[in-house]
Symmetry: C2
Subunit: 484 residues, 2 copies
Amino acid sequence: MRSSVFEIETLTVPGGTESILRGGRHLFGKLPEAFHGVRRIGVLGWGPQGRAQAKNLRDSLQGTGITVAVGLRPGSSSADDARAHGFTEADGTLGDWLAVAAESDLVVLLIADAALAAHHEEIFAVLRPGATIGLSHGFLLGHLRATGGDFPAGHPVIAVCPKGMGDSVRRLYEQGATVNGAGINASVAVHADPDGHAGDRALAWSVALGSPYTFETTLQSEYRSDIVGERGILLGAVHGLVETLYRQFLLDGADPVTAYERSTEVVTGPLARTISREGLPAVRNAVADTDLFDRAYTAAYGPAREIVAEIYDEVADGTELRSVILAGARLATRPMTPIGGSPMWAQGDAVRARRRSPAHPDLPIDPLTAGLFVATMVAQVDEFADRGHAWSEIVNESIIEAVDLLLPYMHARDVAYMVDNCSVTARLGTRRWGPRFQAAYEQIALPAVAAPADPKLIDAFEQNPVHAALAAAAELRPSVDISV
Amino acid sequence: MRSSVFEIETLTVPGGTESILRGGRHLFGKLPEAFHGVRRIGVLGWGPQGRAQAKNLRDSLQGTGITVAVGLRPGSSSADDARAHGFTEADGTLGDWLAVAAESDLVVLLIADAALAAHHEEIFAVLRPGATIGLSHGFLLGHLRATGGDFPAGHPVIAVCPKGMGDSVRRLYEQGATVNGAGINASVAVHADPDGHAGDRALAWSVALGSPYTFETTLQSEYRSDIVGERGILLGAVHGLVETLYRQFLLDGADPVTAYERSTEVVTGPLARTISREGLPAVRNAVADTDLFDRAYTAAYGPAREIVAEIYDEVADGTELRSVILAGARLATRPMTPIGGSPMWAQGDAVRARRRSPAHPDLPIDPLTAGLFVATMVAQVDEFADRGHAWSEIVNESIIEAVDLLLPYMHARDVAYMVDNCSVTARLGTRRWGPRFQAAYEQIALPAVAAPADPKLIDAFEQNPVHAALAAAAELRPSVDISV
């Protein structure tokens, strides 16, 4: 990562260093220079990510003369909402997506994956010469590879990929107005750089979104870690885990509220908080029954790693993407049934009410829950490390996004609500892989918890280089929790 | 289906008729004529299917002058077992697979899917001119399509696909020595017929295996229904269902043995028997609480159909096959963990002991279990019908194979044992899709059982054309149950 505008820092990680950019509002003045000739940014799409990015970019670029316009499909039902947020046809900041694409110097593609797969060629066809193509994840690269297509020649192609949901990208940016540096970490990738300024534009975009910590990746690495991560510990595995544990605690005699607390509430609350503030080994130190934690960790690591490896293979091969595209055709006639009707979620309100009661003591971290969760998180970390991902990407995609963003969000609502309300690609993936994790926990891991812990595996956990990588990344964390 | 040797019959099915061949030992005398010039049959592979087919073919062809030889990979660990079953180098009926392929007029490819994918070109290269290529399922066609390959020109390509495991193919054939017509139904496909005799050879092979009821299909239809069926009601769905129900009955207060009985034991015992002998509507008439059956059926049909449609899409697209091939590489270094350690299977011995006790009354069919199971079976039937499969294929691949073969086998052992011991392709598929069914039952269907039944859905069940198709097929069923 190099820049002629921003000061790149070096992060010490296990086995070497990585270049990163520390963000903040004090850098906004440098944005016009870093954007190198971009006078107009077109954001196509008004989903959570499109809305958040359009607003953050507009706010950060206020007074610079760089305008931000929103482009929507003809007849889009989002037009009214975009107008309500101040993007209007009258001042030229709202228009047809192809018109906006045709007149922008940086075209940010934030339409849904299926729409992107269907319409990218029309968009490419109207771009002005040398306009920069901007992505926020690697889906389109995967799709182009699967279909034998490519990005059009002569255009810079860059990606800025916030490691969190669109709502969080906006929420933390707003918190950043008072706490400089509050925002969502992002990775940047330069896929094509015909004019030599693509890297600076990507960094400018990331800074303008409010990213406190920008690290470098490639579109392919980003795509793989993003899609695998959401199917793994970020969404799929956590959903499979809490469904398993809720029933297990019920079977062990717990009442429903307690079963919910020992499973979901522990994961989204004290477990996430402990990892966020003190790292993974602190969880093992925090539980009352270390032996049970170790046995649960031992029982779950292998089966979880097996599934993460399977997900990785299928994502890297393009198989997972094909299944998403096949689902798109089915979903046109038969929408997905929500999973929020599962009995455990009926306990959520009671648990959250109890949480707010002053008389209710702090929930201890259940050692069984913690052992299974941490084993799965480390299995994903180890698989990513074996597949050659950079440490910044590994810790952001496997740990920081989970404990600082998604789990707090689930803590406020619940896990199934989040699954039923996330992107189609993530929702499909969670429904596809969550049950695989559940079956592995139920049928393989839980029966094995009775066996003694494997000292070699526990030792490997304690010595895992991820702890140093996470500590290094944590120093870049703004001193603010997301308010959900 | 036409034959110059055998008498083809017409089966009346909903919407028309299908040609079928009724088998039996009285037809063995016609085999030399029907095999049209085949003097030597080479069976490559000694898995359960290879062993059963080699032995059945040899027995049926005794005294005809047609020899059956077994071909094994160099260093195969199966050589001793093949010798113990009377295939020996000394009399020229056991040899290297390429040598056996090179000297046979019909080469039956029964090596494992992964080996077939890796080595089919070597085998094709040594075939004598005009030798017939024989398959027992459509995997190789799927693989050739996925990789841009094809069968070699000038060779007849036929398939005979017994609708049951290899062990059953042998077991029922042996029972057929005393009960003419006992055997496993089979589909036949003629994929290439350069000499005009491919169809008769396929029928001869099917009769020689002992098939009492041979129906026609294509390699593509066979492949799809076979792979979808084992992921659906034959293996994957039934595994997901009993895991769900066992826990649910425990949560409702049942002791473990009763929970096992109301889930697995009901499905593999009285439910399978009732469907086998009296058809699907008889299950609804047999349960004590018809309203609960109807509500369970209503709750499960939609979610089950959704998953069957997804499986079908992925099998038809080749996605499922890619995942099997990707798994092959992983399994080389990391074998699959068995799922037989799940707590419910520890109850199996107690349940089977109780079953044999004269004091133990006949188990009633649990209405919840029955409603979920029958809904899933009908969902698969309806999906196959919508996708254009022939009724013989639908009822064999969705009902007869289940209730007459697989469920009785699971009744003797258990469901997880069967999953852990079936073919790699089936085992991978069951582990991939069984948890999807489980999650759908737990998270979507069971919570919906409280709602009233949908009279339209129940009416559609009662009027479903599958009942007539199954009754027509049942007339071809020999009057013998498989002994397991």
